[in-house]
């Protein structure tokens, strides 16, 4: 069962999009240990989704689950900031815990 539902919105296949996807994937694999489902959406292909989610900046990462909604913009290069933004804190023992 996935505890986290994360959606990453990117605009086209740019270097920045690629970097954000790689960073998101790495965080999900390494930090969330497979507890997260990551969906990647290219808003150039699905502009109506960008409208629904009110995406302004790309890349945007939205934590849909668990609530509340969290939004992050940027290429997710700073892992610690991302974890904090996801309301996760790193307990040092290798496993992140929900605070």
């Amino acid at each position: 069962m996935n505890k986290y539902l994360l959606k990453l919105y990117v605009a086209g296949q740019t270097i920045r999009s690629g970097r954000a996807i790689a960073n998101a994937q790495r965080i999900c694999d390494n930090e969330l240990k497979g507890l997260a489902e990551l969906i990647i959406i290219d808003i150039l292909e699905r502009p109506e989704v960008a409208e629904e989610e009110k995406i302004l900046a790309t890349p945007t990462l939205i934590r849909h689950l668990p609530p509340p909604l969290r939004r992050m913009i940027g290429d997710l290069s700073d892992t610690n900031e991302v974890l904090m933004g996801l309301d996760l804190h790193y307990d040092g023992a290798g496993l992140p815990t929900d605070k």
Binding site: L56, T60, R71, I73, D75, G85
Partner: protein, 508 residues
């Protein structure tokens, strides 16, 4: 080189906005398929302008529009403009209107982690424009996007992209920006560097404790527009209305058909009555008979089967009707016959611009042959001097364009003689001026009347005494042995003196 420039100039088309008055002062509307910056301080009606630009497009030209909001939420805008009669919800259902809601979302602040751009916004605008086949785009307000992101340099770069994307989209766009002063830098955040080709400034100036809204087209690159500030007002059920004053042309026709003033003796003094499309100013101190003259003017019209419209700003309906009965004129009867309409308003009930619009629309709807306003001076106290002058010019030229007769009254501040501000503002545009004055004679107050000016006609230059009774005004004989009436210092001349003066001009 020179030729090329001229060619470019010819090619700039304009898009009629449909905003009342704007297309007139902009000589045809906003430059088509270009971006216009609309700048103004807080509360200068920028959002109304941006909204109305789209609304009029849908209502008058069936052109769909996309509204990008950075400040207010879409829900707020839908609600706020409903009073103007714009049903955005319905337009959204009909695919005539689309919101791009880029306003800050409450409780969900974005955390910035790394590098980003605003492709999301661009994609959404592009998508909405294509989906609706939109012809118009409004962005309100550009500067507000800076507050949503921490790095202004990114926003700056992205705005350049946004602006160049808009230019490619085959849309005419209005971009609003906030400025901090009415007369100062065009905008905050230096937004004007992105959109500088066409600039419109909205002002909301505090002048002598009164607010005055004006609109100025600062520039339209490569195409013409009227220059200077034009007053405008925001009407609760219509939106923005711009009043094109200085752009009024003096091209009204002039007729030599005479109409009655409602008083036979006065007609004779004027050389046979007023001209049909002339503006008459009646000036006098309080109680000299201005309202009486207005009543006679109206009644004279009705007697000749003309339609009359009377705007009263000094007295209530009841008072006015009762006074008229006192002079043997029955307004209620005339109204019943549909020949008269009396509009009574308290001057303070609205701004001067709003009164102007009411006057204009009443004239348009009732289609009168003659219009009377009693009194202009009552309106003077609710406005700034400049605003009042513009109002008078606008009303008179509007009436002249309808080719109907207009009679205005103006109260002089002093009982004896004297001029008023109203007179100095209006006297050059009026065709006729009639002065009513008190004359003190041997411890008694008498009333005098004179036709000071009668454009295009001979007139009697006497200062005549007149009396008022239950049948109205009776003009009598000239004051023969008094001088200085108009100056307010009547002096009695003895018969001997009159003979002496007469001898001075004796030519034989």
């Amino acid at each position: 080189m020179r030729n090329m420039e001229i060619n470019d100039r010819v090619q700039i088309e304009k898009l009629e906005t449909g905003i009342p008055g704007f297309d007139f002062i902009s000589i045809g509307g906003l430059p088509k398929q270009r971006i216009t910056l609309v700048s103004g301080t807080a509360g200068s009606a920028k959002t109304v302008f941006a909204t109305q630009f789209l609304a009029e497009g849908i209502l008058k030209a069936d052109e769909p529009g996309v509204f990008v909001t950075f400040e207010e939420s879409a829900a707020d805008i839908r609600k706020n403009v409903k009073g103007f009669g714009w049903d955005i919800k319905k337009w959204e259902r009909d695919s005539k209107w689309a919101f791009i809601d880029a306003s800050p979302q409450p409780g969900d602040e974005s955390i910035e982690v790394g590098d980003y751009d605003l492709a999301g916004l661009l994609t959404r605008i592009d998508h909405a424009v294509q989906k609706l086949k939109a012809k118009r785009v409004s962005i309100d307000s550009l500067g507000a996007i800076f507050t949503q992101f921490s790095d202004p340099s990114i926003v700056r770069k992205e705005l350049f992209r946004l602006v160049s994307a808009l230019k490619r989209m085959d849309v005419t766009a209005v971009v609003t920006a906030e400025c901090t002063e009415d007369y100062g830098a065009i905008s905050r955040y230096g937004v004007e560097e992105f959109v500088a080709d066409n600039v419109v400034i909205l002002r909301n100036i505090l002048e002598g404790e009164k607010r005055r809204r004006t609109l100025e087209i600062l520039k339209f690159r490569g195409t013409g527009h009227a220059k200077g500030e034009f007053p405008f007002t925001v009407l609760p059920d219509q939106g923005l209305i711009i009043i094109p004053l200085s752009a009024i042309e003096l091209k009204q026709k002039s007729s030599d058909i005479r109409i009655t003033s409602g008083n036979q003796a006065l007609d004779e003094m004027c050389g046979g009555g007023f001209f049909r499309d002339s503006i008459v100013l009646v000036s006098g101190a309080t109680g000299t008979g201005k309202t009486l003259l207005t009543t006679e003017f109206v009644a004279g019209g009705v007697d000749n089967d003309e339609r009359c419209l009377l705007f009263a700003f000094e007295e209530s309906r009841e008072q006015l009707f009762r006074n008229a009965i006192g002079w043997g004129r029955h307004f209620d009867q005339m109204e019943k016959e549909g020949k008269l309409k009396v509009v009574c308003e308290y001057p303070e009930s609205a701004g001067l611009e709003d009164h102007l619009i009411v006057i204009k629309s009443e004239i348009e709807n009732f289609k009168p042959n003659r219009v009377a306003v009693d009194s202009l001076s009552a309106l003077e106290r609710i406005s700034t001097q400049k605003g009042f002058r513009e109002f008078v010019i606008s009303v008179t030229s509007f009436i002249k364009h309808q080719e109907i007769a207009g009679l205005f009254t103006s109260t002089t501040p002093s009982l004896m003689g004297g001029g008023s501000v109203t007179e100095t503002h209006i006297s050059t545009i009026t065709d006729s001026i009639i002065l009513l004055r008190y004359v003190e004679m041997y411890g008694e107050m008498k009333r005098g009347l004179t036709v000071l000016k009668m454009r295009g006609s001979m007139h009697n230059k006497d200062i005549r005494e007149f009396a008022i009774d239950s049948e109205g005004m009776h003009i009598g004989k000239p004051f023969r042995n008094v001088t200085g009436i108009l100056a307010g210092t009547p002096q009695h001349l003895s018969p001997g003196e009159i003979d002496r003066l007469g001898d001075l001009f004796n030519e034989h």
